[in-house]
């Protein structure tokens, strides 16, 4: 059984922010693997640990800098990785899904895993889109994934701490929710080895149909009334507001 784990290289805005018409200067961004994708890698590695999977392969869609997340996954323990060379696709999950279909054609995995959503946009769409394009079953938001033969079983969180257990036949697409199975970290030695790993790239003809035309800092203050002062005076004001509602 072979698992393909799809990873997104996401940018997070650090402190100061300047928006230049339709993009943010990369100097203001810190890039990393999307949070939930780390849990997808962990779920795949646990399956390999339990001998449910023989090979775990990582893939990302993006420019050259995105290979960083494939290296991260290799330092965690995936067998190898590659990059689908695609630019400016971040806002078009369907295009990403189409690119992943090409990766699936190349690799013929039995299972495709990825995070339930990206940390930057949270659209939750690449997984279901990829599954629909492949005609494969899709399980969204799994916390535990297990495979027995050709049958996949997954646990999903429901409201208030209840869980449901669902099942489908392979091949399948599963999106993984952040949860209790914390992603492992590679040792310093693993990280050095991952730096040297060869990360092939494959080109694609697929282009995004969703383009950024303008960008601006969000009005993050909304209509809020600001309260300031020392902790004691803030606490007194908060307490008065709570008591007024009790």
């Amino acid at each position: 059984m072979k698992i393909l784990v799809a990873l997104k290289h996401v940018g997070a805005v650090s402190g100061v922010l300047e928006v230049d018409v339709d993009h943010i200067d990369p100097a203001f961004l810190e890039f990393a693997m999307s949070d939930a994708d780390g849990y997808a890698v962990e779920a795949a590695l646990l399956m390999r640990d339990r001998a449910e999977a023989a090979e775990v392969v990582a893939v990302t869609c993006g420019g050259e800098p995105a290979t960083a997340v494939v290296r991260d996954a290799i330092s965690m323990g995936v067998d190898r990785g590659f990059r689908m060379s695609a630019e400016d696709m971040g806002f078009d999950p369907i295009a990403v899904g189409r690119v992943l279909c090409e990766a699936v054609t190349t690799e013929s995995p039995d299972l495709v895993l990825m995070g339930v959503q990206s940390s930057d946009l949270g659209q939750q769409s690449v997984g279901p889109a990829t599954a629909a394009l492949l005609g494969w079953p899709c399980v969204v938001g799994a916390t535990i994934v297990q495979v027995d033969g050709r049958t996949l079983t997954a646990h999903r969180d429901l409201e208030g701490g209840a869980q449901e257990i669902v099942s489908c036949e392979l091949p399948a697409v599963v999106t993984v929710q952040t949860g209790s199975q914390q992603p492992r970290y590679g040792s310093f030695k693993d990280k050095m080895a991952a730096k040297k790993a060869e990360i092939p790239s494959h080109s694609t003809e697929i282009a995004s149909r969703v383009k950024v035309v303008a960008m601006r800092p969000a009005l993050s203050t909304g209509n809020a009334e600001f309260i300031s002062g020392d902790p004691r005076s803030i606490a007194e004001k908060l307490l008065a507001m709570v008591r007024a509602e009790q």
Binding site: G222, F226, R232, L238
Partner: protein
């Protein structure tokens, strides 16, 4: 003729109020024909909205994402719609992305605006964890999941109801078991006042926060990272993959406000947020914003509330 299909949200025996916002977004966005798709209502319960051409009522209630996809396929084919509009929630994202992929449409979630263009659609949505807002041009058809409380409500009006054919698709994913929620005694649904803790207070801040909610006599909530880290049980989790709440007062400490959290607290009547980062997205929906170290404020509150 630009037709837009609106996927209704239903609660009880009527449309949920969000449906009126979806209809209004479709009409204001430039739709010439709006059709509302619904299930779980009888023909007489399905009272529509001004400007809506028809209500397309499913035969029965779809029992899986596959059947919702099938229903949307039925109505998109029937109406020739180039845009499908639904509410941005956990349940809708799966069928929406699959529908978009199947019909060669694009998908944009958490939309804050929607406007028809000569060759597609223009929408805006948050990016970079809500710190930025982007305007997007979408070439061709679109499935748009809209944020609630952005558009005004459309007015009610009786419109023709059309019954759709029986849904026949069978899901490839089956439920084989479930576990009950642990008995926690936590009922966030009906809580009047909730104090919620986020990652910003750190593991060491959680016991003091729990003590504070005890002394205040308010309910205890948490963000997903706090629950994932094992600092509090899942029953306390608020947001899209936890519990959606509607208290009179919601007070968030050290919660930056990921979209999935904000979705779960929007129905609170009053929101107070305490965060060290003045740009934290939680402030965008707060009525009262406190830029301060939550840990210090918790300590000060505990000093004001001696143990009885």
């Amino acid at each position: 003729m630009t037709a837009v299909v609106v996927i209704a949200e239903v609660s009880g025996d009527d449309f949920d109020p969000i449906t009126a916002e979806l209809v209004s977004a479709a009409l204001k966005g430039g739709a010439e024909e709006v059709h509302v798709v619904a299930w779980g209502l009888s023909e007489s319960q399905a009272v529509g909205y001004e400007g809506v051409k028809s209500i397309l009522l499913a035969d029965g209630v779809p029992n899986s994402v596959e059947q919702v996809k099938e229903l949307v396929h039925q109505v998109v084919t029937r109406t020739g719609a180039t845009c499908v509009v639904a509410s941005f929630n956990w349940r809708n994202t799966e069928f929406a992305a699959a529908t978009a992929a199947t019909h060669g449409m694009s998908i944009v979630t958490d939309c804050l605006s929607l406007e028809i263009q000569p060759s597609g659609w223009r929408v805006s949505r948050p990016a970079y964890s809500g710190k930025v807002e982007v305007d997007l041009h979408v070439d061709g058809g679109l499935v748009a999941l809209l944020r609630d409380r952005v558009w005004p409500a459309a007015r009610r009006d009786t419109v023709p109801v059309v019954k759709m054919p029986t849904l026949t698709s069978v899901s490839a994913v089956t439920q084989v078991g479930s576990t009950e929620a642990p008995r926690s005694g936590v009922d966030l649904h009906s809580a009047g006042i909730i104090f919620a803790v986020g990652r910003g207070l750190g593991a060491e801040g959680v016991p003091e926060f729990v003590e504070l909610t005890d002394r205040l006599g308010v309910s205890l909530g948490a963000s997903r990272p706090v629950v994932d880290a094992g600092w509090l049980p899942h029953a306390h989790q608020i947001g899209q993959s936890g519990t959606s709440v509607a208290p009179r007062l919601y007070v968030a400490f050290g919660i930056s406000g990921a979209m999935q959290h904000l979705v779960g607290v929007r129905k609170a009547q009053q929101i107070i947020a305490v965060n060290t980062d003045p740009r934290a997205p939680i402030f965008s929906i707060a009525d009262v914003a406190v830029v301060a170290d939550g840990t210090e404020v918790v300590k000060a509150l505990l000093e004001l509330l001696p143990r009885s």
